[in-house]
């Protein structure tokens, strides 16, 4: 490669990427004054290009017209209301659904007829760390994993038929919520720092029984 064509090659390389030059190009720049000046000029030009392109953004900003600002504020309020509504309502609905799913998975519990001894029930309650004093005869008692905790899953005999009671110490239930799903009807009730779910297969859970369950719970 003669000197002229080498210089041309170097200038193309410098013009393409002046900040990342190959060792060969750098070596040439050390020996060729003209190309070295060319490279220096290119770096100066790049600074100019950068300055020319860096336009202050605030020059292009225009204040939003009042109507647009109002629309924006209204959108934020609406989004907050919708989001807040979902936040308030979704967990409760989800909890009821999960309780129903759990009960459906232990469908055999409805068929139990033999009343458990107080000691058997107490053992389950102790395992879950819950106290429950009720006169209702318990025919099924299990400490079931639910949302990462063991919760007492009981079936009690009543004049209205068997009812499932789940004592949810770790579930915050802020208000009474009735639900019906998968052929079951039930109610979620606040109980101190937690909640209680009472479900039955046919008809609504009688108010008196729900109240009796809640009054017997101690976390």
């Amino acid at each position: 490669m003669n000197s002229s064509s080498e210089c041309q090659h170097v200038r193309v390389a410098v013009g393409g990427d002046p900040h990342n030059l190959s060792p060969e190009v750098k070596a040439h720049l050390l020996t060729c004054v003209d190309c070295s000046r060319y490279a220096q000029d290119t770096l100066t030009l790049d600074l100019g290009v950068r300055d020319a392109l860096q336009l202050p953004v605030n020059r292009f900003r225009r204040a939003a017209p009042p109507a647009r600002r109002f629309a924006l504020a209204a959108s934020v309020v609406l989004a907050t209301l919708i989001g807040g509504g979902f936040w308030l309502l979704a967990p409760r609905s989800a909890l009821a659904g999960e309780v129903v799913d759990h009960v459906m998975h232990e469908g055999g519990s409805w068929g139990e007829q033999v009343v458990l001894t107080p000691a058997e029930v107490a053992a389950v309650l102790k395992e879950a760390g819950v106290q429950f004093d009720s006169s209702l005869p318990v025919v099924y008692a299990m400490a079931c994993p639910f949302h990462g905790h063991l919760v007492p899953h009981l079936v009690v005999q009543t004049a209205n038929g068997p009812m499932t009671v789940m004592l949810l110490a770790h579930e915050k239930v802020s208000a009474r919520q009735e639900f019906a799903s998968e052929g079951l009807e039930g109610v979620l009730l606040p109980a101190g720092e937690g909640g209680v779910a009472v479900l039955m297969q046919h008809g609504k859970v009688p108010e008196a029984i729900a109240a009796d369950v809640v009054s017997g719970v101690r976390w």
Partner: protein, 112 residues
């Protein structure tokens, strides 16, 4: 992350212009009208350079802006513009060569 952000920026920018029919002004007219987008900070040479950059063909201006302002490597630019790296280097060289004249510098020989 920079090339990724650049890609998002380019596509969103393109999408914006697909949707909107923005009023356009010729670069020369805009400069005469002292459009804020082209207004210099009192540096005539920078003003000339800015106008020259805007008048560059897209194929030259785009890689130059990506390199100088975006800080992308030639490999990243090649990937972004779906070109070979030598093609990107050639475009960058030609872009700078055209601007050298505006900037009062002697251009290099180019077999363009």
């Amino acid at each position: 992350a920079r090339p990724w952000l650049f890609t998002i920026g380019r596509r969103e920018h393109a999408r914006l212009y697909e949707r909107k029919r923005l009023p356009t002004v010729d670069v020369d007219e805009a400069s005469v009208l002292a459009d804020p987008a082209l207004a210099s900070d009192g540096d005539a040479r920078l003003d000339d350079l800015r106008r020259a950059i805007l008048q560059l063909p897209d194929e030259y201006r785009e890689p130059l802006v990506m390199q100088v302002l975006g800080g992308l490597s030639t490999t990243e630019i090649a990937a972004e513009l779906k070109l070979t790296q030598p093609a990107v280097l050639t475009r960058l060289f030609r872009a700078r060569n055209r601007l050298r004249v505006i900037y009062g510098l002697e251009p290099a020989e180019d077999a363009e």
